[in-house]
């Protein structure tokens, strides 16, 4: 034990003298790793930022899971059941589809089922339908979202996006309406002005503007309005428990699949996760992750080649010293350890400085102004796993790059070198 320890300590001493003797060479090797690791951290933090900004954009109007009633799912065709034989000639005139059910009639029952699940963090029932907005002689089409005022705010933070008026006014002012900012401009109405709403069934009703809202989606701002869900039911002529969609947020938004599998049996309606509804989002964030990974690993690979080169050079330079170490009784393993240790030290120092530099670069970039689509600055999101992996990759690359030269050093035949 003690002998082994002393061997390690003399090997370590030789390694550290090698590293400090040509300090600039060591610094260059370390910097290679530093840049690789810091770029890994920066790229991943930036991509995380972009992804989460994209997601929060999507989740400003969309829950993690949506429950809705799709009436096109029933393939039942009575004509085919009655006339199943191939020899029967079937003549149907003026065939029409009948709409059996529309929307969710028993919302409170569904909500009580959902509320019992521990992973559910918020539920917002909605009644969405298209209407004409009329003000004076202007007539614009758009959609109305009848919402549970409190639930909508909890899920989507819509209250923060109200730019004039008060979101909460919707809850007690049954004739109140919150318009998208652009829509309000087009109708040239302001707070307390009247707006007439005309549904596709021909029902008409006057609302008073209590607020305008600005989201990061301009198309929505130009066509969408919010009213209390009770008023929405009234104007649509539906019962007090009717909704078209129930938006659900769960604790881990990436775990929607398992959640849907569990609730599917208990709920007699269709369920859809945000991933299914927004596959382009999922694909984009996956692609960004791949790019971040590819760029940072390429940098680490280049750093690895740099280290390989420097180690090879060092070993060629010190080939006589290695031979003499072996003549004096250092084994091949000792020699290999001496050089692997150098690689490891380069990896550790490079990894740690890369960690700091990566954090520094990221926080600088996070301050760069970027005022498009609801951003203030370039988005950065730190994840501890990125920092851990960056250091692990940095050290692994260095050790791999150091391994081949070290093995070469361990195989040097002292006789060949000393005899010349």
């Amino acid at each position: 034990m003690s002998k082994n320890f002393k061997n390690t300590s003399i090997n370590r001493q030789i390694a550290s003298i090698h590293l400090t003797a040509k300090i600039w060479q060591t610094v260059v090797a370390v910097l290679g790793v530093t840049f690789g690791v810091s770029m890994y951290i920066f790229m991943n933090s930036f991509m995380n930022g972009v992804n989460s900004a994209q997601d929060s954009l999507a989740f400003s109007t969309l829950g993690h899971v949506r429950v809705y009633n799709d009436d096109h799912t029933n393939p039942y065709d009575p004509a085919k059941v009655i006339a199943s034989s191939e020899n029967t000639i079937l003549h149907l005139r003026n065939k029409k589809a009948i709409q059996y059910t529309e929307g969710i009639k028993n919302t409170s029952q569904i909500i009580s089922i959902l509320e019992k699940r521990p992973e559910v963090t918020g539920i917002a029932p909605q009644l969405n339908f298209s209407v004409f907005f009329r003000s004076g002689s202007k007539k614009l089409n758009g959609t109305i979202s009848g919402v549970d005022v409190e639930g909508e705010d909890r899920l989507f933070g819509i209250g923060d996006k109200v730019v004039s008026g008060e979101w909460e006014d919707l809850s007690f002012q049954k004739t109140g309406i919150v318009l998208g900012k652009v829509l309000a401009e087009k109708l040239s109405v302001g707070i307390d002005d009247p707006v007439n709403v005309l549904t596709s069934d021909g029902n008409s009703r006057n609302f008073t503007v209590v607020g305008t809202v600005e989201t990061s989606v301009r198309a929505a701002d130009a066509s969408k309005a919010y009213v209390n869900i009770a008023s929405a039911r009234q104007i649509e002529g539906e019962n007090y428990d009717y909704t078209s969609d129930i938006q659900i947020n769960i604790r881990d938004r990436n775990a929607t699949e398992a959640f849907i599998r569990e609730i599917d049996a208990a709920i007699p309606y269709q369920t859809e996760s945000w991933q299914t509804a927004n596959q382009q989002l999922v694909a984009a964030s996956e692609l960004r992750n791949i790019i971040a990974m590819a760029v940072s690993l390429t940098i680490l690979l280049v750093a690895g080649f740099g280290i390989y080169n420097i180690m090879n050079m060092t070993i060629n330079e010190k080939i006589k010293e290695i031979a003499i170490l072996k003549a004096m009784g250092f084994s091949g393993k000792d020699v290999r350890n001496i050089f692997l240790m150098q690689a490891f030290i380069i990896g550790i120092i490079g990894g740690l400085t890369g960690l700091l530099l990566g954090f520094g670069i990221s926080s600088l970039v996070h301050r760069i102004p970027f005022r498009i689509a609801g951003f203030d600055t370039l988005p950065i999101v730190y994840q501890s796993i990125d920092f851990i992996l960056a250091v692990v990759f940095g050290i692994v690359t260095t050790i791999l790059a150091g391994y081949l030269p070290s093995r070469k050093a361990s195989r040097i035949d002292p006789v060949v070198i000393i005899r010349g």
């Binding site: 003690s2 061997n7 300590s9 003399i10 003298i17 090698h18 004096m328 084994s331």
Partner: protein
């Protein structure tokens, strides 16, 4: 370990060695001899006579030979590289024509290396011992200098101090004075003599220098892979 003749430090029997590159060539053609403890032996011969090749077989670094080699009664033929490295560390000291010191290390660190590797003494004791051997070689002032800053004669003496640090039973030299002027060469010979007389260490040196050979206890002359005398 030393159950055989206690006086024999090294013994070779029927040593044969080939070079294979560029073509197969028998360098040593069956050599046998014994070296006694405390003997100062020189091996002389023309270039290509096989004397250096013989020394590297004796040093245990070259293992590609036929025949047998025993040092201090221990059979070394057939031992693996790691065992041989450990054996060299403890029992053999080397002095080469070129000093082969580690240039980035101080003289003291260079001398300490083999003892640190052996690990029998604490670093403090090793340092004291290394300092003592530098003193023995008249170099105490140079202990803290990088060896690249020393003169050729000083470097060679540091190399000798390094060879002595583990009190090896055999010191092997390959032209140890080949790169030195006559004054320094004289000094090295003097040191070697003292080592055999005062410390009973065995010394085997390959040399070109007839004066050096003259000064040794016994000279083996080699020609064409065989011992002449």
């Amino acid at each position: 370990m030393e159950k055989n003749d206690k006086k024999t430090a090294l013994s070779v029997k029927n040593l044969i060695k080939y070079f294979y590159d560029p073509q197969t060539f028998q360098v040593i053609k069956g050599v046998s001899f014994d070296v006694e403890k405390g003997e100062f032996l020189s091996i002389v011969g023309k270039s290509g006579s096989g004397k250096s090749t013989l020394l590297y077989v004796l040093s245990t670094m070259d293992t590609d030979y036929e025949g047998s080699l025993a040092i201090n009664g221990k059979q070394l033929t057939g031992a693996n590289q790691n065992q041989l490295a450990a054996f060299r560390n403890e029992h053999i000291g080397f002095v080469f024509q070129f000093h082969y010191l580690l240039p980035e290390f101080t003289a003291l660190q260079n001398v300490m290396l083999p003892a640190m590797k052996l690990g029998k003494l604490s670093p403090g004791e090793v340092e004291q011992k290394a300092y003592d051997s530098l003193k023995l070689l008249d170099l105490p002032d140079q202990a803290m200098k990088k060896t690249s800053k020393l003169s050729g004669g000083q470097q060679q003496r540091v190399a000798i101090a390094r060879a002595l640090i583990n009190s090896p039973s055999i010191i092997m030299g390959d032209e140890p004075t080949g790169n030195l002027d006559s004054k320094n060469s004289q000094a090295v010979q003097e040191i070697f003599h003292n080592l055999t007389r005062e410390f009973g260490q065995t010394i085997i040196c390959v040399t070109h220098d007839p004066d050096f050979a003259e000064n040794t206890d016994r000279t083996i002359e080699m020609a064409d892979g065989l011992i002449l005398s």
